[in-house]
Each structure stands twice: as structure tokens, then as C-alpha cells.
Amino acid sequence: MTSSTDAQPVFTALGLTKTYRMGEVEVQALRGIDLELYAGELIVLLGPSGSGKSTLLNILGGLDVPTRGRVSYLDHELSGADESELTRFRREHVGFVFQFYNLIPSLTARENVAAVTEIATAPMTPEAALELVGLGNRLDHFPAQLSGGEQQRVAIARAVAKNPAVLLCDEPTGALDSTTGVRVLEVLEQVNRELGTLTVLITHNAGIAAMADRVIRLSDGSIAEIRSNSDKTPARELSW
């Protein structure tokens, strides 16, 4: 699963700039990012707090739009797309996993996944998705009855159940201890390997970078370094 320059990139970003204006003050969250991400890659996004990681991920996922520059998904132009196009894009192609799980408390694990598969075009069954993250025996439990790690795995199942082309994870292990975190990463790795989903993973934990195909390091809104990992470490062997 290494990058191949002749294949069409999934995401292409050109001079991506994001500026937040708060009264007098302008915050440059992204300053001209050029980037290509390919199918099946597992990308880890590193960088100090405030360097623009989440901003970049949100723009790729269609949650936000750039101030300047262009970003496209395959042949779809994302910069300049309107709200309903972005909603359709998220619905059909993107799976999200967040630091705080964001499960629907009033739905069971199975139903949290079903909430997404019900509106997807070619999803797997909720049961299969939960089986994939090792929760096949907790189908009918509500979020309140699950641990943090288990909730995060439900969130992953929910994200992958619709067979998305890309999986975007913002600090998925941020709220978890090391052992549970590794369990979650194993699931992401497995999804990436078995389903070939382009996976972008934000972390503060440089150790996690070892499991990536490519590591992108952001600094003050610009790409400081892109490093290819020829020798990936399986998630199981990570610890921090």
C-alpha cells in the first residue's frame, strides 16, 4: 500500500489556505498546503497544538471550506461546493472518528451504526461492522453501558459501515489509555488493510507515526515534512 504516482490521487490540495478573522486579529490556520493523498494509504498527521491539523482534516472531510486554494476529491471540486453538495459528499464517501466519540446516547450500538447505514448506498450490515471492531457481542448495549474504548470502537464501526472511501480520525485515542488506544488503532489498521480505505489519523503521539505509510508533519499552518515509512510497525507493537 505505498503511494503510486501514476494512480489518480483521492485528495488533491493546491495552495490550501484557511484564515480565521476575529475582529482585528487574523489567524492563519493553514498557509498554502499542497498535498496529494492516495487510495489505501494510512496517513498520520503530526504537529504541535494549533498547527492546523484539525482544520486540514475538516476541510478534507467537507466540514469546512478553505479561504483560498483548491481541494478536490477524485473529480469533485470541494472548494466552492455548497452546503448540500458537501453533505452528500460526507454521506457517500467519508467516515469520521472523533476524540469524544460523539455517539447518539439514545441509540444502541447497533442502531448508532444503523443510523448511518440507513442513509448509505452500499453499506455493510451494522452487525458486520460491529463484528469488525470486535463488538459483535455488544450489539444492543446503549453508549452508557459501554466503556470509553468500546464507545470509540462503535464510532469506528459507524464510520466504516458505509464502506467509505476515506476515514478521517481526529485524535481517536486522545481520551483513551495506552492499552485501549492500541486496541482502537488495531481496528483502524485492520479496516485500512482489509477494506483499502484511505485513512487519515491525527495524533499528538509521535510513536503512533510508526504504523503509517506516510507521516505528514504540520507546523504553523504549513507542511514541515512528509516522510514515507518503508518499514511499518503493526499497531499491536506500539505503546506509549
Binding site: 453533505t87 460523539n102 446516547p105 439514545s106 441509540l107 442513509i119 453508549p143 452508557a144 459507524r158
Partner: protein, 789 residues
């Protein structure tokens, strides 16, 4: 504390939508209170002033005729301060260009100088010149209704003789603030007039030279009214006195007092309902609003703020909202109050001036009730949040525990999509909150129905009274009781279809220690025009040898059952006191009366075939001819036409009802919208995170709106029938509260009114839904993901 105050202002700004909605709720409740109480206070105050300024008498008496020197003996009665004699004559009036019958009442004024009692407030023109023979002063209502003023002429038929009179002035008397023709149901300013003439001129016309047939007096300080009345009655007995009475029984004053009592009930019951509902909603809304600030409470505690300081902070927030609401409500209420008092003054309480008065206590009550409801609601939530250790409070709240709903456990889950399940589970998880929301929305619908109930009730009452019970076109009263042969003459008039004679006698009805001054009507047992109605409003025959009483008179005033004996003191003729069995109860919404068969009543009076008047049915289109023919008969004292009475009644109260409906609709609407919008808005705050997460997952705005608004719609739907029940309950309370001998409200709710209550709920829900829809468009997806709950 400065930073906290800034937080307070910023919170208020941030919550401005909800603040406005809560202000609307408080405003609705407070405005009703202020409007009603200030109107009542103003009218009571105005009445007291007017009575004092124009020396309204305290005891009144009519007699057949007494020579003037008798007055000096009466003045000597202990307890009499000032006594004045008068001549009073019933008359028929004629105004050029108006063909309907007009009943008049002419009172004498001293030949020289101003009256000492019951003085006139001159609105226009001047008083009658000394010893003038043909000058009159008109009551303002009559003058206004006909556009008459100084210089115009009217004709009066007094004791059968027609006289032409010159109008010299227009006046208001404390004795005739409320004017209604004898035997009429409603005031009719066009067809009933009160006039004042010089004593000598009126005495000459009415055959009262050197005599009087009416007197009024004021009481000396400390005098006992009943003692004075008893002595007066003793002395007047041989002059044909019909029993002296105090202000409590004085016609105009009694009606004013009853109306004021009704108004006081309105002023108590409506605001209690409105403010009660508003306070309840305020409590619910505020407590939910503050519950959302849980994390902030924890943070403030972590900073080291005391519970007291934190509580005070939130109380301040709430108080700002309350004060805004009370101020807005008071201003609106005072404005409505002035309008309402004005409408009253035009229709019912014809005071020449009005002292509008807004008692500061009223505003204080409003402030206290609202503040209590709001502060208790907020403190409850703050206390709950403050009980948590700061660390727990700031931690992510454990996901709330949900479970499958009853419907799903019954195996119906495959019918529900995930969003539908979210709606059902959310409702079932917080049943109390859902119930309170349903109840709050229902209350708004109920208030709407209460506001519009009045018109339906009036329509119903008029229908029963004039299309079921008193179906005559015209009621004719003779100057004195007359031989029944007069009926034949009436029947012979061209245009008259049907005639039924009646006999009415003023009486005092007594049972144990209860008594009531009224009239007994002797009617035809098989009459088709004037009938007595049973419980289900079907006509029933009056039984031959007994008396039938209006339900209210029997049950609530005299406390007498059918079969028991009623003491009837006749106030006419030989003034017998008789025992008559009560043989029936008749249902009646307007006024109270006692009925007998005419023959039976005449037998009791030892009189033959005698009638006091007759009910006439007239061929449509022939009314004018019949009126004209009757005008020529000197023995006809007055004529009351039903159609005209109904019409004028609607004309006078129409404005009032319109005003009242408008206000009630406005207030119920503002409360309804405030409640529904707040419920929806708070639900959005509580669930914004969940909904944003769904948006991130690719749900469209419509799909998440379904989850939020679907729940609101479901609750609103449930609120529709509950609202109807609430409306019925509130109307039942009104019916109870408004029971009086003037009228009893029927417990009816038309389908139009039910629909109106439902419409309010639906419209308020739609509007709230629209606001929420717009807000959902501005949901910040990114921000939600950065923070935990």
C-alpha cells in the same frame, strides 16, 4: 464580580431569542393582571367619586300618591339626614324620524334651584328654567343615540296626554348610570330614555299637584338603613308605598355593583389563570435553561465561588428577564386597561368622567409572582448542579442511559427508523419533561379557548332566551293592570298574529332566612310565545297551582326544593303575604324570575281576568303599522321589541367582545408562542451536539430537523386534545365564578372554538419550527467536535 456581570450580559445576549420568548410569556400573564385590576380599580374609584360629588341618595321609595306636607313628617324620622320628594312618571316618547316604540321615564326637578340629592352632571346645555312648562333635560345616552341636543324637541305621552317638550340640556345622573327599560333584558339607548322636567309642569301633566309619588333620602351618620326603611314603610303604607329600598336594591346601582362584581371576578380569575400558566411555564423553562449551565456552575465552583454567589449570579440573570417581562407586561396592561375602561365607560358604566388608576401594588404582585416562579425554577437547577463536586460537573457527563421504548419492546421496532427511535426514546426517557411540555403547550391552547368562549356563550344565551323562551316580537305593558278584554283589541290589530296576556306583580320572595326582590310573571300555561324551559331547554307547561322558579333563584338564592312552600309578599294592591308551593324549576341563563299561570296568580290576588301587558307575535314586515296603532292607545305604557333589543345589545357589547377577544388572543398567542418556542429552543441546546454529529456523518438538515421537530410535532399533537381538556376545565371554572343573578354562563364549547385552540397550538408550533429550522442551518459542526459535552 465584574467579570461575572459581563458574563451575565453576554449570556443574556446569547440567549436573546429565549429571553424574548420568556418575556413574552411573563408579559402575557402580567398584562392580563394589570389590565383587569386597573380597570376594576378605576371604575370603583370613579363610581365612589361620582356618587359622592353628585350626592347619590341612600334610600328610595315609590308610592301611589301623598300630599306634600306628609314629607315633613317623614323628615322627622330618626336617621334621615336629607329627604326630597319628587314626581316620577312613566311615559312613551316620540322622536321625529324614529318609528320604533320608545319607553321613557320622567323625573321632576325642583322648580327653583338645584336638587339636593341625585344631582345632574350637565354635559351640554343648561338646567330647566324656573317654573318652565315645557323644558326638559335628557339623559346623555338617549340624547346621543338620537343625536338630540339643546333646541330639539321631543314628544311625551304622559298619563295618556301628548305634550311637546323642548330639550334644553343633556345630563348624567348618579341614579341612572345603568339604564334599562322595565321588563327589558339589555340596555337600549335608542328605545329607553330618562328625562327631567320642572316639578310643577310634571305634576300638572301627571295629576300630582301638591303631591308626590317618589322620595329619596340620605342617612344621618350612624343611622341604620333597615330601621329607616321600616319606619318609612309604616308611614307610607296608607299612601300606597311599594316598599322603600336602599342602594343595594336601587336599579342602576345594583346593576353596576353586579357588573363590578363580575369584573372583579374577571380581574381575579383571568389573571390567575394567565399568570398561573405563565408562572408555571416560566418555572419549567428557566429550570431547563439553567440545567444547561451545569458545566459553568462546576467551573465557577472550581474557581472558589460559594454556592450563594453562584446562586445569586443565576438569580440575577433570571431577574433581569423577569423585570423586563413585568415592565413590558405592565405597560401593555396599562394600555389595554385604559382601552378596556374606556369601552366599559361607553357601554355599561356611563360615568361622565373616568379616573384611570393603576395601583402600584398590582405591579408589585405581578413582579412577586413572576419572580417567585422564575427564581424557584432557577434555584432548583442551580442547586442540583452545585451539589456535584466541581470535577464531576466538568467531566463529560456520562452518556445518558436510554432503553428501548415500550412500543419497541412490544415488537414494533422494525417499523421505526433510527431517527424515529431517537424521537420516541427521547420522549420516553424524560417522561416528566415531555409531560410538562405537553401541558404547557396545552395551557396556551386552553387560554385561547377561554378568550373566545365569551362570544359563543353570549350567542348561546341570546338564542335560548329569545328563540326558545321569550319568543314574542313585542312586549306591551299597560299603564295599570287592565281587563283581559284588552287582549281582544290587540288581536284585532292588523298585522298582529298572536297575543298572549301576562300579569306581573312586584314581590319579595322568602324562604327561611333567604329573600329576593323580584316579580312574579303570570303567563299563559299553553303559551307559545313566552315559555318556561326545563333542564334540557325544552318548553314545559307551568303547573296550575304553584310557582316555577329559575334554577339559580331556587338553588342558589332561596335554597328551596320543588314541593316546598315559598312565601310570596305582593308589593302591589292589598299586599298579601301568601304561601305558594314551588312546583318546578326552569332553566334560564339571563336574569331570574318566578312564573305562575296567569289565572292562578290573579286568583291569589283576588282579581278576575286581569293583564299587566301582552306578548305579541307580529307578521314580518308589519311591525311599523303595529307600532303606529299601539302609539295611539293611551293605556299602553311601554313597548319592548325583541329584535331591536338583541340588535342593540350586540351593538353595545360587540365592541367590548371584540376588544376582549383581541386582547385574549394576543396574550394567549404570546404565551403559546413563548412556551412552544422555548421548548423547541431548549431541546435544540440540549441536543445540538448530537444533531451536529449526525450532520457530520452526512445527515441533511432536513433529516436532523425531523429528529428535533418530529419530537416537537409529536408533543404538540399530544397537546391538542389535552389543550381542549384544559380549555373545558378553564371554562368550567369561569362558569362557576361568574354565576350571578344577572346571568349564568352556559358550559358550551363550539367546535369553532375547539378548532381555534388547536390552531393556536399548530401555528405556534409551525412558527417555532421555522425559527428552529433556521437555527439548524447555522449549527456549528466543527465547534461541536472540538469540545466534549
Amino acid at each position: 464580580m465584574r467579570a461575572l456581570n459581563r458574563k451575565l450580559l453576554r449570556d443574556l445576549w446569547h440567549l436573546r431569542g429565549q429571553v424574548l420568548a420568556i418575556v413574552a410569556v411573563i408579559m402575557g400573564g402580567v398584562a392580563t393582571l394589570v389590565m383587569s385590576l386597573s380597570t376594576y380599580d378605576s371604575l370603583v374609584e370613579t363610581r365612589e367619586r361620582f356618587y359622592a360629588e353628585y350626592r347619590f341618595a341612600e334610600v328610595f321609595a315609590y308610592l301611589e300618591r301623598a300630599p306634600e306636607p306628609v314629607a315633613d313628617r317623614l323628615r322627622a324620622i330618626r336617621g334621615v339626614e336629607r329627604l326630597e320628594t319628587r314626581v316620577v312618571a312613566g311615559a312613551r316618547l316620540e322622536v321625529a324620524g324614529f318609528d320604533d316604540p320608545i319607553t321613557g321615564r320622567i323625573l321632576s326637578l325642583p322648580d327653583v334651584g338645584e336638587a339636593g340629592l341625585n344631582r345632574l352632571h350637565m354635559k351640554r346645555g343648561r338646567r330647566v328654567a324656573p317654573y318652565s312648562s315645557d323644558e326638559v333635560v335628557l339623559s346623555d345616552t338617549f340624547a346621543e343615540a338620537h343625536g338630540l341636543g339643546p333646541g330639539d324637541r321631543v314628544a311625551a305621552i304622559i298619563s295618556g296626554k301628548r305634550r311637546s317638550l323642548e330639550v334644553v340640556g343633556v345630563a348624567v345622573s348618579p341614579e341612572y348610570i345603568y339604564q334599562i327599560a322595565p321588563g327589558a333584558m339589555f340596555p337600549d339607548f335608542k328605545r329607553y330614555g330618562v328625562l327631567w322636567m320642572g316639578r310643577t309642569a310634571l305634576a300638572a301633566a301627571h295629576d300630582m299637584d301638591g303631591a308626590f309619588n317618589n322620595l329619596t333620602l340620605t342617612l344621618a351618620r350612624g343611622a341604620r338603613e333597615q330601621e329607616v326603611i321600616d319606619r318609612l314603610d309604616q308611614q307610607l303604607a296608607r299612601f300606597g308605598g311599594t316598599g322603600a329600598y336602599g342602594r343595594a336594591d336601587q336599579f342602576s346601582n345594583r346593576f353596576l355593583s353586579e357588573e363590578l362584581k363580575q369584573l372583579q371576578t374577571t380581574a381575579t380569575i383571568f389573571p390567575t389563570i394567565f399568570l398561573g400558566v405563565a408562572a408555571f411555564m416560566l418555572n419549567v423553562v428557566i429550570s431547563r435553561l439553567i440545567a444547561l449551565q451545569r458545566e459553568q456552575v462546576a467551573i465557577l465552583k472550581a474557581f472558589g465561588y460559594s454556592h450563594l454567589a453562584i446562586g445569586w449570579h443565576f438569580v440575577k440573570l433570571v431577574l433581569v428577564v423577569v423585570v423586563l417581562g413585568v415592565l413590558a407586561g405592565s405597560a401593555l396592561g396599562a394600555w389595554f386597561g385604559q382601552g378596556l375602561a374606556g369601552v366599559y365607560q361607553e357601554t355599561t358604566f356611563r360615568f361622565p368622567y373616568l379616573h384611570y388608576r393603576l395601583n402600584p401594588q398590582v405591579v408589585l404582585i405581578a413582579l412577586m409572582v413572576s419572580a417567585l416562579a422564575a427564581v424557584s425554577g432557577s434555584l432548583f437547577s442551580v442547586a442540583r448542579a452545585a451539589r456535584l463536586a466541581p470535577a464531576t460537573g466538568m467531566q463529560a457527563e456520562m452518556p445518558t442511559a436510554y432503553r428501548a421504548t415500550l412500543l419497541e419492546r412490544l415488537g414494533l421496532q422494525r417499523w421505526f427508523s433510527a431517527p424515529t427511535r431517537m424521537i420516541l426514546r427521547h420522549i420516553e426517557r424524560r417522561p416528566l419533561k415531555s409531560l410538562l411540555t405537553v401541558f404547557g403547550i396545552a395551557c396556551a391552547g386552553g387560554l385561547m379557548m377561554v378568550g373566545n368562549y365569551q362570544k359563543d356563550a353570549i350567542d348561546f344565551m341570546v338564542d335560548v332566551q329569545f328563540r326558545q323562551a321569550a319568543r314574542e316580537d313585542l312586549a306591551v305593558t299597560f299603564i295599570d293592570p287592565t281587563s283581559g278584554r284588552a287582549l281582544h283589541e290587540l288581536r284585532a290589530l292588523p298585522g298582529v298574529d298572536h297575543v298572549e296576556g301576562f300579569r306581573d306583580v312586584p314581590v319579595i320572595l322568602r324562604h327561611r332566612n333567604h329573600e329576593y326582590r323580584s316579580s312574579v310573571y303570570g303567563i299563559e300555561p299553553a303559551g307559545v310565545l313566552h315559555r318556561s324551559l326545563d333542564r334540557s331547554l325544552a318548553p314545559v307547561r307551568v303547573p296550575p297551582e304553584g310557582i316555577v322558579l329559575t334554577d339559580h333563584l331556587a338553588n342558589n338564592i332561596l335554597h328551596i326544593q320543588p314541593g316546598e312552600l315559598l312565601t310570596v309578599e305582593m308589593l302591589e294592591g292589598r299586599r298579601q303575604v301568601l304561601q305558594v308551593p314551588v312546583l318546578g324549576i326552569t332553566r334560564q341563563f339571563l336574569g331570574v324570575s318566578a312564573y305562575m299561570q296567569r289565572d292562578a296568580l290573579n286568583r291569589l290576588l283576588h282579581e278576575g281576568n286581569v293583564v299587566s301587558g301582552a306578548y305579541l307575535a307580529i307578521e314580518p314586515g308589519r311591525e311599523e303599522a303595529v307600532y303606529a296603532a299601539l302609539h295611539e292607545r293611551p293605556r299602553v305604557l311601554s313597548m319592548v321589541a325583541n329584535a331591536a333589543a338583541i340588535q342593540s345589545f350586540y351593538a353595545t357589547i360587540g365592541e367590548f367582545v371584540l376588544f376582549y377577544n383581541l386582547v385574549a388572543t394576543l396574550l394567549a398567542g404570546s404565551i403559546g408562542f413563548g412556551v412552544v418556542y422555548n421548548s423547541a429552543r431548549i431541546a435544540l441546546s440540549e441536543r445540538g451536539r448530537e444533531l451536529a454529529s449526525l450532520r457530520v456523518l452526512g445527515f441533511t438538515r432536513g433529516e436532523i430537523a425531523y429528529i428535533l421537530l418530529g419530537e416537537l410535532a409529536l408533543l404538540a399533537l399530544a397537546a391538542v386534545p389535552v389543550g381542549m381538556l384544559v380549555g373545558v376545565g378553564l371554562v368550567a371554572i369561569l362558569v362557576q365564578a361568574f354565576e350571578s343573578d344577572l346571568y349564568r354562563l352556559p358550559l358550551i364549547l363550539t367546535s369553532a372554538n375547539l378548532a381555534l385552540g388547536a390552531t393556536l397550538i399548530v401555528v405556534a408550533t409551525l412558527f417555532s419550527g421555522l425559527f428552529i429550522w433556521r437555527r439548524l442551518g447555522r449549527l456549528d459542526l466543527v465547534a461541536v467536535l472540538k469540545t466534549r459535552e
